[in-house]
Symmetry: C2
Subunit: 345 residues, 2 copies
């Protein structure tokens, strides 16, 4: 198929290629008549600028943003975040940005991908989901002039991070269970620094512990179970908890996937939820609604959307929006209930 180039357009419109380029890029220095003629030629030829050629000269906007992620730790959360990113891109539809997905398999692979992205220079900016950046990595991105925004971090780092306040979320969850009268509350989550060095679990646990401490309750070591982020592992940890001689009356799992595993474990042991044990998660996935899981909602979509807005502002050198999200909130459903009777023991 014949693909007209900018030169064909110029010839047809009887102008120079520079003028066509200026029309394409909305330069003000073109008279209305010239612009009309060029636009007519463009329409007639069905011309579209070749985005690749457009990206070659170094100073140009590439109209690509990269998304770096380990997407398969949680399908539903990943999808919700992607949805948010798309919504953000729709907001800036006229800029015609596209999204390039870099999926990462390990921490080493992450560094490798990051280096490759910088070296090959195919994106205008980067959204980094979940991963934390080392100082060298930040420096590398800054040296390359590549703006970057994090998604799913606490906002206290030295780079813009948009995500749920994990500490507060953990605090709210524990407070909710405490208000129901529970005192023997277990925490089930990832290692505080996991394979990918995600620190989410530690942050949520901190909030959890603070809520207990405020009410003068210690966090019992045997009630804290940490393991690799995986459904089957979570089932095992939950089973251990439920089989303790003095089992907890409530479990707070650091994510819904693990909370669902708790439900599964209880079912396999013949324990009823919430009668025998209350279970609470964190995320508010689609599944949680259908299962009736009490959880802490974090706002995946708004976060993704905000991350895009923030990044595009950085790219354009505009003032970025305040990186403020609605705070996490407890969504009470059917897997928790007030502690009955035991208080009187």
């Amino acid at each position: 198929m014949f693909r007209p180039t900018i030169r064909d357009v110029a010839r047809k419109a009887g102008v120079g290629i520079g003028t066509v380029s200026r029309v394409l890029n909305n330069s003000p220095k073109v008279t209305p008549e010239t612009r009309q003629a060029v636009l007519a030629a463009i329409a007639e030829l069905g011309f579209r600028p070749n985005t690749i050629a457009r990206q070659l000269p170094r100073r140009t906007r590439l109209h690509n943003i990269g998304v770096v992620t380990q997407p398969f730790i949680n399908y539903q959360a990943f999808a919700a975040q992607m949805r948010g990113l798309q919504l953000g891109l729709y907001d800036y539809d006229s800029k015609r940005y596209e999204m390039v997905l870099y999926s990462v398999r390990s921490l080493a692979h992450f560094d490798e991908q990051l280096t490759a992205i910088v070296r090959t220079g195919t994106v205008d900016g980067l959204i980094i989901i979940d991963f934390d950046l080392l100082d060298e990595q930040k420096q590398m991105l800054r040296d390359a002039g590549l703006p970057f925004v994090g998604l799913n971090h606490l906002q206290d780092a030295d780079w813009p991070c948009i995500g749920a306040d994990n500490h507060l979320g953990g605090y709210l969850a524990a407070s909710y269970l405490l208000d129901l009268g529970h005192t023997d509350i277990a925490y089930l989550g990832d290692e505080f620094v996991d394979t990918f060095e995600f620190k989410t679990s530690g942050q949520r646990y901190e909030g959890f512990r603070r809520a207990l401490a405020e009410r003068g309750l210690p966090a019992k070591d045997e009630y804290v179970r940490l393991g690799f982020h995986d459904y089957d592992v979570a089932i095992e940890l939950a089973t251990e908890l439920l089989r303790l001689p003095d089992p907890p009356t409530a479990i707070f799992a650091m994510c819904d996937m693990q909370a669902l595993a708790c439900l599964d474990a209880a079912r396999r042991l013949g324990l009823r939820v919430p009668e025998a044990v209350s279970v609470m998660g964190f995320d508010d996935l689609e599944t949680s609604y259908h299962v009736g899981l009490t959880t802490v909602r974090q706002h995946f979509e708004p976060a993704g959307r905000l991350a895009v807005q923030y990044l595009l502002a950085l790219i354009d050198g505009a003032p970025p929006p305040p990186p403020v999200l609605p705070p996490p909130e407890v969504i009470p459903r059917q897997t928790t209930r007030p502690l009955a009777g035991k208080g009187a023991v």
Copy 2:
């Protein structure tokens, strides 16, 4: 930051740029010693070929595949498909293909995106999820020499489509319910040709109807409820069915989302599942496991993976793998049960 180019590498290695290019592209026509020298220079400079410049000369592989999709019809299915695509790309890791996401909002937008993709020529091939192609569109892609593979279609069209056999799936679902003794079975699904002109619902219904017909049962019109693909709409349709003077004893919903809506509707009406009514879906989402929904599993991940394999074969002019997937299969869970008693009425 200084980005070394192929010329820097050539100078350092004391060879010509052509030789460096040949090393980069694994041409056999380089002596081992020369190759070593070039590789050493590449390593020393930390050189990475600029992927954009690499894409400019027209005959080149672009190392991009485009994915065109309406991603938000079903989050979980979308995520599973993406996962499959990523797995497929991992299989061909050495080729370093990347994925560019084109998300589509409407049928008109689909055509627009397709035209833009062809005109700007930024991808080597296209995976088209769910959407059907018009003859003109197929022709346009063929004229442009752009290979394309469909994901989620029946395999009888005149282009390679990888997806569940919807007809068979519908047939299996109905057969399963019939084997349980049900005869009053409702079908709940999308319009047979919906907003996006997806024909999935019609295909699944055809299989469903054939199973009934084989046992000499007519499909009662009042038991067929079609509507826009949306949770709330599905709840309404399900409520209508359950409120019929002579309600069905089983409902087959054309997707799990709608089946979950049936469960929700039954709950709101105070009806127990499966005691009052059996409910069966199609997809086997994550949620379905947790909810215990009987369903027909379609193999999203293998499908995505196969689609990538197929497309990369087309791009390379190699013989594509047979586009054969494991057939859909019924996954019995807790939302269906044998019809008890009613047969004796």
